[in-house]
Symmetry: C2
Subunit: 212 residues, 2 copies
DNA sequence: GAATTTTCGGTAATGGTTTACCGATACATG
DNA sequence: CATGTATCGGTAAACCATTACCGAAAATTC
């Protein structure tokens, strides 16, 4: 197995999803050009991406085994070892994530939510209990959760993260629009809607300018 | 103004957010090293990033004018011209986006939602009406919405996007976990949670492996 | 007002990612 | 069984992004 870049890593889930579709359709083999056409990548890029994660080689004129690719990618992405996570901040977004059905397929299990709002504490959202945020120190270690999903306002996100790290969080999935500092050994991944929107707007302007 | 990359574009919203915080604190000037320390970038990168969007030069020993930076970035990011958008699929996620308060600050105005569920049609979510999806062709042009925010299941996302494009959508903000094909002149930006999670998991594994 | 410090802008070097190309190989076809 | 074609893996080139460096300039200090 070769080395791979962050960009490649970001593409792998899309490959896996497509391969599962193919499997459901009964397709046994798939070629790089076909994959590229479907997902919007060049065939060279597809080949290079898959070479990094695939144990077996592709066969000329046929392509690669769909079943094998799925196995390789699931193993590579860690979808077969489940990590426990908690959601901190069960507002609209936090609640939506707790209701998200497909995290389980990705090796992520949301175990519980935490919030300060009395109207939420004790409720079940997406089948998981919402606990009082005060009980984080007590419950997070017991739940054996290593990922904290941060859905609180930006203004308090840093202090919430500090608490989560203190309770044993090794990964922070940050949905608050702010940069977070964490100690060595803890990882932060931020989902930044503002960035995504900036890219969309910019490309829309570009497309519009080109037209004229 | 120089050329800039997509990566830089993604960083600009974070800069802007920080500069607004500084303004609220009454800070008038800010230097690149200070910005970098706060946001986790190198000072060289900050300088290069800001040189691309800033009209005025920074001053040695002082830095750049916070007020000027905010103006430059807001103009550059298009936060001063508002685009109308609609949400298609008012489930947990779509509803959360309709309730999101800060899109207005980013030049995005959500005008309405569309869904097929009778229990949602006619409701108000985040102060905006939810209409029957059947009325998309009728209403989308009247609303003058150019962005469609896709929050439907992946299986129907492509057909929904085709309809939205047909109704005049020039930009697609895609929250469905699937690749979408659109005609020339239309832009798609996908928010891919699976990718983000893959990066988080991978970096957690790396951090964990390093520790030993 | 001279010396020191901080930050600046610009350019060069580095590192990383994507694209392009090429000979080899397995399958399909006649 | 020979020929043609689609796809493969690998390597080289091109492209883009980040990092490092340096002389200059504005503010501060003495």
């Amino acid at each position: 197995m070769k080395t791979f870049s962050m960009n490649q890593l970001e593409r792998y889930p899309a490959y896996l999803k497509y391969f599962k579709e193919l499997r459901d359709q009964g397709v046994e083999y798939v070629s790089s050009p076909r994959i590229g056409a479907k997902l919007g990548y060049s065939e060279e890029q597809v080949r290079k991406d898959l070479q990094c994660v695939s144990v077996s080689a592709g066969r000329p004129k046929r392509g690669r085994s769909v079943e094998q690719l799925i196995e390789d990618l699931e193993t590579f992405l860690g979808y077969r070892d489940v990590s426990g996570a908690i959601v901190i901040g069960v507002g609209h977004l936090g609640g939506a994530l707790m209701n998200f059905p497909s995290f389980n397929e990705m090796g992520l299990e949301i175990l519980a939510g935490f919030d300060v709002s009395p109207s939420l504490i004790g409720q079940k959202i997406g089948g998981k209990e919402v606990y009082d945020y005060k009980r984080l120190h007590d419950l997070m270690p017991k739940l054996n959760a290593h990922i904290a999903i941060i859905c609180v306002p930006a203004s308090i996100a840093q202090s919430v993260v500090d608490s989560a790290v203190c309770c044993g969080a090794k990964g922070i999935w940050n949905f608050a629009p702010t940069h977070l500092d964490v100690p060595e050994g803890v990882v932060v991944e931020t989902v930044d809607l503002a960035s995504s929107l900036a890219v969309l707007s910019h490309r829309m302007n570009e497309a519009n300018a080109k037209k004229r």
